[in-house]
């Protein structure tokens, strides 16, 4: 069951596919699901996500679950792995995903969204991750290393099992700093606490981040203080607000400052997933800022 755009139509053939589950495994606090989806794997660029239908063929759950891709591999023609927090989430849809077994089918749309922008030159990159969101940084790290960039990791979480990918980060990173709130792994504290030090020690030229929205907010602010560009993936915001992942429903909007200085409500799924951290009005998420284009006040009141 693949979508029906024909060759030469200019359409992305296979943007929606029915993928076979290869494995679902528990990784520390999270679940990792690997799907056989060659069309997705082939086109994937780091930072992109997939939108999964949950509940099976006759499901009454119409909202797609948007998950950043952790890794693609050439096995079986092309596989795609996603990481999600089922135990910490109250969403029965993620529960359904966690309950899949090998050879089950999952309806996948992807790859979707704007990827991480890559530096032209071999510069120092700092990759900051929190919780399951850190998964989105590893494909990026591979690509950056192939471009001869230096890759430094800063990963955080509540406790050791909540820090995704600490071991891989230590293996592939030029450096890897880990912080936990309870001190069970690495330094005690939060990403925010150690970020200035890590930026200085790594001589970072650019900061990439994926994780809880609060973390993205501090990363963007600190990067800007240091005069560094930041590229952040608003995966968590999309998961909390979006319904389709493909730009149709307009429910995943957040206030973004444009090149012209005007704030517009932009879609996380199509204008993101990766955004410039300094363009997001983090303090105004979940609101319509009064000076945003088309804000109610600007119309002189009323709905």
């Amino acid at each position: 069951m693949t979508d029906t755009a024909g060759p030469g139509s200019g359409r992305a053939v296979g943007l929606r596919t029915s993928a076979i589950v290869l494995t679902v495994r528990q990784v520390q606090d999270y679940h990792a699901m690997t799907l056989v989806a060659p069309a997705v794997a082939e086109r994937f660029r780091p930072g992109q996500f997939v939108a999964l239908a949950v509940g099976g063929e006759h499901t009454g759950r119409l909202v797609r679950r948007c998950l950043a891709v952790y890794e693609v591999k050439p096995d079986y023609g092309g596989t795609v792995e996603v990481v999600f927090d089922h135990r910490g989430s109250r969403d029965p849809g993620t529960g359904w995903l966690a309950g899949r077994r090998a050879r089950d089918m999952v309806d996948v749309v992807g790859p979707l969204g704007r990827p991480f922008r890559l530096p032209r030159d071999p510069v120092n990159c700092l990759l900051v991750g929190g919780g399951p969101g850190a998964a989105a940084l590893f494909a990026l790290a591979d690509t950056l290393r192939r471009r001869e960039c230096r890759v430094h990791f800063l990963l955080g979480g509540r406790s050791a099992p909540a820090v995704f990918g600490a071991r891989s980060a230590r293996r592939i990173g030029d450096s890897a700093t880990v912080v936990t709130e309870d001190g069970s792994l690495g330094d005690t504290g939060t990403v925010r606490d150690v970020l200035p030090r890590v930026i200085e020690e790594s001589a970072a030229d650019v900061v990439y981040a994926c994780g809880p929205t609060g973390l993205l907010r501090s990363v963007s602010a600190v990067a800007t203080e240091y005069g560094l560009p930041s590229q952040v993936s608003v995966e968590e915001f999309l998961q909390q607000t979006g319904a389709c992942g493909v730009g149709l429903c307009m429910t995943c909007v957040l206030p973004i400052i444009g090149d012209d200085g005007v704030t517009r409500m932009a879609r996380a799924c199509t204008d993101g997933l990766v955004m410039r951290g300094d363009r997001v009005r983090w303090g105004d998420l979940g609101t319509i800022p009064l000076d945003a284009l088309g804000a109610p006040r600007a119309l002189g009141g009323g709905l």
């Binding site: 979508d3 029906t4 389709c244 493909v246 979940g286």
Partner: protein
């Protein structure tokens, strides 16, 4: 070969499967999945006079077999729509139905007047669920009077060859009377239904889930309500084309609407779950008709009204009767229209 062509007044469509207003994006998002020319028509998001940011997030909650949304009619405004969205749609070889909305009669008319100037606009749909500032923000389509006023204002500024469709929500005490008023005011067809009001409360935060508190329910959850609306209105106005909307997810769902009296169906929430649904539903509907040896879609429109009831001996199947007075009004109306 099943003949899927259908008519909405003067507008002939190659097939009866349309997108529902506000659910097909600008068209570009769907065009990544299929050629829009395979749709019977593309309905735009409701266009208003000025840009609107809409409601804060969260705007959507998943509910059983549906979604609850509080969008606040976000959109770029008519200028930007005419400059960027419509020219692109005009190149897609698909009939474009422009949905218009406003806070006042003047705003509806102004948007419709400007949109209908483009030959790319095949029809105008009037979203009567927009809040009326003069009626404490309650929707125009709540009562026959204001609904008819809006339709009359839009019809007056719209090209003769572009049908005007009045789109109604089901949360009203007497839908048939409102539908009759819209047709009397010049509506060439009716789009039934818009979302119905609902509420979700998050048991963890103990608060309404949506930033807008209440929202509009859509998806298969409302399909029986939509079907009842189409059936009742078709019974009262058999000559008026109806676009059936509400939870259409398969060809058989579309067939139900056609049998109830719809000349076309529009697909909304299903697109969020399956962006390829439009052409799929058209194909499934074609298969469903041919499996029933119905050669022309037009022959199936309203067929459920005409077939004798089926049932066990002595069992009288329940009938949906039009509200009292609907028949008289229809007779009066058809008398009026006689030359």
């Amino acid at each position: 070969m099943t003949d899927l062509t259908t008519r909405l007044g003067t507008l002939e469509l190659a097939n009866p499967v349309l997108t529902a207003a506000g659910c097909g994006g600008t068209g570009r998002e769907l065009a990544r999945f299929f050629d829009l020319a395979r749709l019977g028509a593309f309905t735009t998001t409701s266009v208003m006079l000025r840009p609107r940011a809409g409601r804060p997030t969260p705007r959507v909650a998943e509910t059983p077999s549906g979604v609850l949304t509080a969008m606040g009619l976000p959109g770029p405004g008519v200028d930007s729509f005419l400059e960027t969205d419509l020219p692109w749609l005009a190149e897609q070889q698909v009939p474009v139905i422009v949905s218009v909305a406003g806070h006042s009669l003047e705003e509806y008319a102004e948007v419709a007047r400007r949109a209908q100037e483009s030959p790319a606009v095949a029809a105008v749909e009037v979203n009567l669920a927009a809040p009326n500032v003069e009626d404490r923000g309650r929707m125009f389509g709540r009562l026959p009077g204001p609904a008819a006023d809006v339709v009359r204002a839009v019809r007056a500024v719209t090209r003769r060859d572009a049908p005007v469709l009045a789109k109604l929500a089901p949360d009203v005490s007497d839908l048939v009377t409102i539908a009759l008023a819209c047709v009397d005011a010049g509506a060439d067809g009716l789009s039934l239904i818009n979302t119905m009001a609902g509420l979700a409360i998050d048991p963890h935060t103990l608060r309404p889930t949506l930033a807008g508190v209440s929202g509009g329910l859509s998806g298969p959850a409302i399909r029986p309500v939509a079907l009842r609306c189409v059936y009742e209105v078709h019974a009262a106005l058999p000559g008026t084309p109806i676009v059936g909307i509400g939870g259409v997810a398969t060809g058989l769902d579309a067939l139900e609407f056609v049998l109830a009296g719809a000349s076309a169906v529009a697909v909304g929430t299903t697109l969020f779950h399956d962006p390829t649904a439009g052409p799929r539903i058209a194909r499934e509907l074609e298969e469903a008709l041919s499996a029933r040896r119905i050669g022309r879609l037009a022959d199936a429109v309203g067929l459920a009204h005409r077939l004798p009831p089926q049932g066990h001996v002595g069992h009288v199947p329940p009938q949906i009767s039009p509200p009292p007075g609907a028949d008289e009004r229809r007779t009066e109306e058809s008398k009026e229209k006689l030359p």
